[in-house]
């Protein structure tokens, strides 16, 4: 975008061949006096096309090979021909539906929790409490320093000494409740912690592209209340970063294995591992499906984000700049 704006690019382009004829002459066929001067040097380079094609081709092969051969693995048994049983048996497989629903539920709760915590804090930090900003940033980024496996050792320790020390207090009930097998809230809490850095980065990038104080002040001067200013002015402008944050969180929760398995719960990723011993084909089939699901969700969310943004007149201009 920026490359097309500068008009004064013409004089140097015209003057250059005089200064350095040996370099510029072979790349630029001289008798093209006008036309887009900024683009000309780029079309002149032919050699990069070759290595670009090679790099992209090799990368494509490396990234497609496991996907294609996984699919072949699931449908083709050597000596027995092609069968889609690994996919058709899936729905009736024991634990599939429950574990998937559990993972989706955990993802929804985690997205809601992380956005509800992060959005007010980040907006507030932009608006009126700039001195809190480094604090919030450090707090949100801290989980990046603590690998999930280290976090889960800490959580397991807390859960273990909880009953010993708190058995006589009302907190004990809370400890039991957060470990409920049907919907382990402790996982939601842990996942929200893990998601904070991604949510923070996504929202921070979105907010950085906006002039938050001016937007809010304008909305307030037009008579909007505080909640109205945030919900109807700020959030629509943040739509793409909100969907981005939600998607990252969803992908994180759907694929999370470490914390759930070590705390003894069985959401989707843990279920795949438990069936892999007995039904290798099905575990690979589910792996492919989970990738396809992630991909579909990403496409859906990015389309929803851009389509909704396009209908809002001037609003989407700001986030797209970033």
């Amino acid at each position: 975008m920026a490359a097309l704006t500068p008009a004064p690019a013409t004089p140097p382009a015209a003057g250059a061949p005089a200064q350095a004829p040996s370099q510029a002459a072979p790349q630029r066929p001289g008798p093209v006096p006008d036309g887009a001067p900024v683009r000309r040097p780029r079309t002149g380079r032919r050699r990069p096309r070759v290595w670009r094609g090679a790099v992209l081709g090799l990368a494509g092969a490396y990234f497609l090979l496991p996907l294609v051969s996984s699919f072949v693995f699931t449908v083709h048994t050597p000596g027995q021909g092609v069968s889609f049983a690994a996919y058709t048996d899936l729905l009736s497989a024991e634990g599939f539906t429950e574990s998937l629903l559990l993972s989706l539920g955990l993802a929804a709760a985690t997205i809601a929790a992380s956005l509800l915590l992060a959005v007010p804090a980040l907006v507030a930090v932009r608006l009126g409490s700039p001195r809190l900003r480094p604090v919030v940033e450090v707090v949100c980024m801290m989980p990046l320093v603590v690998p999930p496996i280290a976090l889960v050792t800490g959580i397991a320790t807390v859960l273990r000494w909880g009953p010993d020390h708190l058995a006589a207090t009302p907190f004990y009930q809370t400890f039991i409740a957060v470990q409920n097998e049907a919907f382990p809230l402790v996982l939601v809490l842990a996942y929200t912690v893990l998601a904070l850095p991604f949510v923070y980065r996504s929202l921070d990038a979105g907010l950085r592209a906006l002039d938050v104080p001016t937007l809010v002040e304008a909305a307030r001067d037009c008579g909007a209340s505080w909640p109205q200013a945030v919900v109807r002015v700020l959030l629509p402008n943040l739509r793409s970063s909100l969907t981005g944050a939600a998607f990252l969180t969803l992908a994180l929760v759907l694929g999370e294995f470490t914390i759930a398995s070590l705390l003894g719960f069985r959401p989707f990723a843990v279920w795949i591992v438990t069936i892999s011993g007995a039904q290798a084909r099905m575990s690979v089939a589910v792996s492919i499906l989970s990738l396809a699901l992630t991909w579909a969700l990403l496409l859906l969310l990015s389309r929803a984000g851009s389509a909704a943004g396009a209908g809002e007149g001037t609003a989407p201009a700001a986030p797209k700049e970033s």
Partner: protein
């Protein structure tokens, strides 16, 4: 910062501005409270457990450095070094390959290719963990499709080894590097290149004196980020190699879930602390680099 300063809010500002102070402060409170509760307490428990020993008879606790010392010797040290080696190797390789792919994507002027590559990178960078391990088992495992077709086993290929794990890690590290570097490469204005060309610089001179110096912080930051990601990865390795490659994450999981000995749990906590220290070091390098590189990307 055009944001009104807090000192002004209290006194001279209008009524609206004065009300804003305390309210905004409160809006950040739930986040901070949540972090203290759900992140601070487990972290505190981890540090506490790593440094104390509980006497099973009396129930009293005593301060000790034994767990930390044990976590830094014998098989635990081997696992820690194995993790560092694997992460460093894969991060470097993925950074080089990822930058090449990113440059290929950025310089191609096809918008469709660009958005497809970025979407794919976004998905694949998150495609770590269990599904990735199974996709590779089906591809290059003992009875994997490619293994059978190309007789990889005869060539000495083994997926369940250090090399195999490295190849698998590259699958999510390269897309991550692409995601990190594309904005940086976008920040490399075509104008600079044109200016260099017009001054008679060759392509190599351009990269040597302009491109790489501008990109260096982003690229180094990318390497550091990849290292941290590979270092913390557990699920892929757990589903793939079990225990055959010594990695610190696998050792922690063993010590935590196996509970062979009572002391093991505290060693797991100490190992967790080791990991946090290494990851903290990584972040201490990464953040300044990122801040530096952000200067050029406005």
């Amino acid at each position: 910062m055009p944001v009104p300063t807090t000192s002004r809010q209290g006194t001279a500002g209008g009524t609206r501005r004065r009300r804003r102070g305390p309210r905004t402060w409160l809006a950040a409170l739930p986040l901070l409270a949540f972090a203290a509760l759900c992140f601070g307490i487990p972290l505190g428990a981890l540090v506490h457990g790593a440094f104390t020993r509980t006497d099973p008879a009396t129930g009293g606790t005593a301060l000790t450095g034994d767990h930390l010392a044990r976590s830094l010797e014998g098989p635990y040290l081997g696992a820690l070094l194995g993790s560092v080696r694997l992460s460093a190797l894969t991060a470097l390789v993925a950074a080089v390959l990822g930058t090449l792919v990113a440059q290929a994507v950025v310089t191609s002027r096809s918008r469709a290719l660009r958005s497809a590559a970025l979407t794919a990178s976004g998905v694949l960078a998150n495609f770590g963990g269990v599904p990735l391990a199974f996709a590779f088992i089906a591809t290059a495992g003992i009875s994997g499709v490619v293994t059978q077709l190309a007789d990889l086993t005869d060539l000495g290929w083994n997926l369940y080894s250090f090399t195999g794990l490295a190849v698998v890690y590259l699958y999510f590290l390269i897309p991550l590097m692409v995601l990190v570097t594309v904005p940086a490469l976008d920040g490399l204005r075509p104008r600079w290149r044109e200016a260099a060309q017009d001054c008679g610089a060759t392509a190599w001179q351009f990269w040597r004196h302009i491109g790489l110096p501008v990109l260096a912080p982003s690229l180094l930051g990318g390497v550091v980020l990849l290292f941290g990601t590979a270092f913390a990865a557990h699920a892929t390795a757990a589903a793939l190699v079990g225990g055959s490659v010594p990695l610190v994450t696998l050792k922690i999981a063993d010590a935590l879930s196996g509970n062979v000995l009572t002391g093991q749990e505290n060693v797991a906590l100490a190992l967790g602390l080791d990991m946090i220290l290494i990851a903290g070091l990584v972040m201490a390098v990464y953040l300044p680099l990122q801040r530096r590189s952000a200067r050029w990307l406005r």
